[in-house]
Symmetry: C2
Subunit: 232 residues, 2 copies
DNA sequence: GATTTTTTATTGGTACTACCATTAGACCAT
DNA sequence: ATGGTCTAATGGTAGTACCAATAAAAAATC
């Protein structure tokens, strides 16, 4: 059978990057571990330092490693930092592959799934964290600290995802919020009182394990936000 | 107020990369455009070719540009290619030390949201594609071509995500399936008859715009699969 | 004249070398 | 004990040279 597949010459820095990727996948390299210095890596891989650096550049951009200069610097394996992915998604948006509406729309659907899971899986401690977040946001609103309050609101959704105790959902939520954080301007202070009341109602539904009430409250809140930003 | 923020020295290749990003954002550079050759860029930026290459490496990894060798090669602005983002998300997932159960669990929740959206948004043409996929899988099952059939089954879920017409959801689904593809061994042939029957029922629900029936059928199927792989 | 082969210029990929900039720790001075 | 200086380690940048692939132009062949 002439079942050929197209051939693409593998580039050296890709091979190097994939070797390191594999070590991460197999658990040989774990977050916090330090890679050898670039000069040593170049020697071990039998390539030039330039090539190693290009491999590291890709890994860094992927959020896999973090590079630090200086005496005890080096390339450290990170915990999963979604920042890089969020930036890539933003790039896609600018290229026309995605629109902001696509992101908020997807977020609405996914957040719905998150709420469903949070109702059944969240512990009382999880809900206490949500309550603390709401209180903090209220205080910041009174202090007119808009930026800090906006950050707290973002944290609320991440905390909610953490109620599901599923790392994949948490990761997706963090990524989506990273994107939205970069695009949204903070909501004005007048609106935030409504938001806080809505949050309190939502939390009550959660504690009562009332799926229907929780999802209804959340989607009402989100679609209201959606309309708010639609106008520009 | 001693309200200082940490200072980080900007690296040259980041500045270069951001300049190019900005040009994309302002629409000065559009998909299909070609950047000057590396040597020219180095001269224009007043930096070395190495540095320019590291900047290009990041942009390439972000899926913003695509590099081609040869006479009329160069760095071309891509249409939004989500492939790069998917790879980054996969890296993050591996870093999180997540288990197969985490992925299938998240997938179950998200696929539920996808089904809800697919019921209301899918067109008849979308559903025809699903039907064609099921037929193809059935044929491959008869031919005992396990690998090809497994690939078709994966494609089914991606096609389902495409029914939502939301690129973000499609991207997430593709990523999840990529992860699962790397881990799953193909299901044995005996089980596939059940799967195909389940798929046909599911499709009928979709065409009838019956949300409850569709979600029920899908989650029954998925949780059955989940149990199947739980045993190892 | 048409087709095939060869040459050539362009451009990304790799190698090597040298040096700069920053960091952490050791050591020293006040 | 505080602050300054020195030193080694390590990422960041510069520059040069050459390799490898590619497409167009030129030459050779039929």
């Amino acid at each position: 059978m002439h079942d050929f597949s197209p051939v693409k010459a593998p580039r050296t820095f890709e091979v190097i990057g994939n070797q390191i990727r594999d070590q991460v996948r197999r658990g040989i390299l774990k977050p916090g571990d330090k890679l050898p210095p670039e000069r040593t890596l170049a020697e071990q891989f039998g390539s030039s330092r330039n090539t190693v650096r290009e491999a590291l550049r890709s890994l860094e951009h992927a959020g896999l490693i973090s590079l630090q200069k200086g005496a005890h610097g080096g390339a450290f394996i990170t915990d999963g930092d979604p920042g890089a992915v969020a930036q890539s998604i933003q790039d896609l948006m600018h290229l026309g592959g995605l629109s902001l509406a696509d992101v908020t729309d997807a977020r609405l659907l996914i957040e719905n799934a998150v709420v469903v899971a949070a109702v059944t899986r969240g512990t009382d401690e999880d809900f206490d964290q949500l309550a603390a977040n709401i209180d903090a946001a209220e205080t910041l609103t009174r202090d007119r600290d808009i930026d800090a309050k906006a950050e707290r609101n973002i944290q609320f959704h991440i905390l909610l995802a953490e109620c599901t105790h599923n790392p994949v959902l948490i990761l997706i939520m963090r990524t989506l919020m990273d994107v939205l954080r970069a695009v949204h301007r903070p909501v004005t202070a007048e609106d935030t009182d409504d938001i806080i009341r809505s949050r309190r109602r939502f939390l009550a539904h959660l504690r009562a394990r009332d799926t229907g009430g929780a999802t209804a409250e959340m989607s009402r809140h989100l679609s209201r936000l959606h309309d708010l930003f639609e106008v520009h």
